[in-house]
């Protein structure tokens, strides 16, 4: 395996190991997501006859908000004992650090999505467990984790990082959110793929833009 891939794997492995040991990010994300879904379920049940038009929006708003908790934690864990300096001292291009942190964030957010989606399928009585929706969730989570890791790095150096992260990230993630909601609706409504394939394309474009931006800009964001 090339050295760069081994270094990325080391960062991912370290983040997963830390998460398995502390369970701080995933616990917070899962609890938040389940609470949000239950509250949406009760609140919306009072006003609508069918959840179908609302389900994709509820799913994605929940995943985006829950994902933000994990992203914030991902960078703040590197502030303890100034561990970020330890990462930055690694003899590698700093884009490798971005890639490692972003992949770890994809894993955590996907794990939350895997736990939350079946719960939502039961509560909202929807067939969310289908390959098409799985693809949209996978692409959405990859895109969101890429943009989120970049913004979380930027926010980590500010005093009000918990406030800055959502304020900066949500407007940027809006195109991804819209694309993911429409593509999820397309699969749930069993529309012909051609009618909403462009929105899956938007998700892919979002991934390309933000993972490239993260790779190129990470060095400048962490520069002292």
């Amino acid at each position: 395996m090339p050295t760069a891939l081994r270094q990325i794997a080391a960062i991912v492995r370290k983040d997963v190991l830390l998460e398995l040991r502390t369970r701080e990010s995933t616990t917070a994300m899962v609890v938040f997501a389940v609470m949000a879904i239950v509250m949406f379920n009760f609140a919306l049940r009072l006003r609508v006859d069918t959840f179908r038009p609302l389900t994709p929006g509820v799913l994605w708003v929940t995943l985006v908000f829950a994902g933000t908790l994990g992203l914030s934690r991902s960078m703040s864990s590197e502030q303890i004992n100034q561990c970020m300096d330890g990462l930055l001292l690694a003899p590698c291009d700093r884009s490798i650090i971005f890639a490692g942190k972003a992949i770890a964030n994809v894993i955590f957010t996907l794990a939350v999505a895997l736990l939350v989606t079946p719960i939502m399928a039961i509560l909202f009585d929807e067939t969310l467990m289908q390959p098409g929706v799985g693809l949209v969730v996978l692409l959405g989570v990859i895109g969101y984790a890429g943009a989120g890791t970049l913004i979380a790095t930027m926010a980590a150096s500010t005093r009000a990082r918990e406030v800055f992260l959502p304020i900066l990230l949500f407007p940027l993630a809006l195109p991804l959110l819209v694309a993911a909601v429409i593509a999820t609706s397309g699969f749930l409504d069993r529309l012909p793929l051609g009618e909403f394939a462009a929105w899956i394309g938007v998700e892919i474009a979002f991934i390309v833009i933000f993972w490239t931006a993260g790779t190129l800009l990470f060095e400048y964001l962490v520069e002292g």
């Binding site: 270094q7 080391a10 492995r13 864990s77 303890i80 100034q82 300096d85 690694a90």
Partner: protein
């Protein structure tokens, strides 16, 4: 002798405020250089620049023959850093911390190196304990093991004695002297004249972002205190 570390005319501004003004420094293998100065003199900024963690606004920096400003990723392989923060993940064990750092440094024979490093700092019996259970002195010893794991020719120490009691400081001082033996070059910043001067071959006094004076002989806390008050 060719210098392992060669910093020329390093300058650094924070906003419009100059923190370093044309600092030049050559360090050869086998040298142990102490950079002294009051708080705010620019010691930590200088050390972070030497560690490639901060970019200077001007000057040149060569480490192990590599232009560290043009190719910092290559130069970092030559550097080990011990700062007053341990750079250790508290929820990983001592061994897991070193495994992680060894992997990102792509160190060969990692298991053997980890055992050697942990034995050297007397933490082998505690290798599987989480770092959060360690005392401050033990964390600093683990930080030394982390810094020397990839056998760097240049060891940078930023106020390594901060927060240590007398016994831990003496222990750390002995470990640092041992780590500095041989072909390794060591640069240490400190404002504490009473600690860590054993083995120092050259002392530089930094004041107002400039090197105010250099001492090669009679490097004692007393003589340096006198020089610092004159500088």
């Amino acid at each position: 002798m060719t210098a392992l570390l060669c910093a020329a005319n390093i300058g650094k501004l924070y906003g419009l405020r100059p923190v370093l003004r044309g600092v030049s420094l050559d360090v050869s293998r086998g040298e142990f250089v102490a950079i002294l100065g009051a708080n705010g003199a620019g010691k930590t900024t200088l050390l972070r620049i030497l560690a490639t963690l901060t970019r200077p606004n001007g000057g040149a920096l060569t480490i192990g023959g590599i232009d560290a400003l043009a190719h910092p990723d290559r130069a970092r392989a030559c550097i080990g850093l011990v700062s007053h923060q341990s750079l250790i993940y508290p929820d990983l064990t001592a061994r897991e911390n070193l495994e992680f750092y060894g992997r990102i440094y792509a160190a060969a024979n990692l298991s053997r190196r980890i055992e050697e490093a942990l034995r050297r700092v007397n933490l082998w019996p505690r290798r599987d304990d989480p770092a959060r259970t360690f005392s401050r002195g033990m964390l600093q010893r683990l930080a030394i093991a982390r810094a020397i794991l990839h056998d760097p020719p240049l060891l940078l120490l930023d106020e390594p004695f901060t927060g240590l009691d007398q016994a831990s400081a003496a222990n750390l001082s002995a470990l640092l002297r041992e780590a500095a033996l041989g072909e390794r070059a060591v640069v240490m910043t400190t404002h504490e004249l009473s600690r860590g001067l054993d083995g120092v071959t050259r002392a530089l006094i930094l004041q107002g972002g400039r090197i105010a004076c250099e001492v090669r002989d009679d490097i004692t806390a007393r003589s340096l205190a006198a020089l610092m008050s004159d500088a």
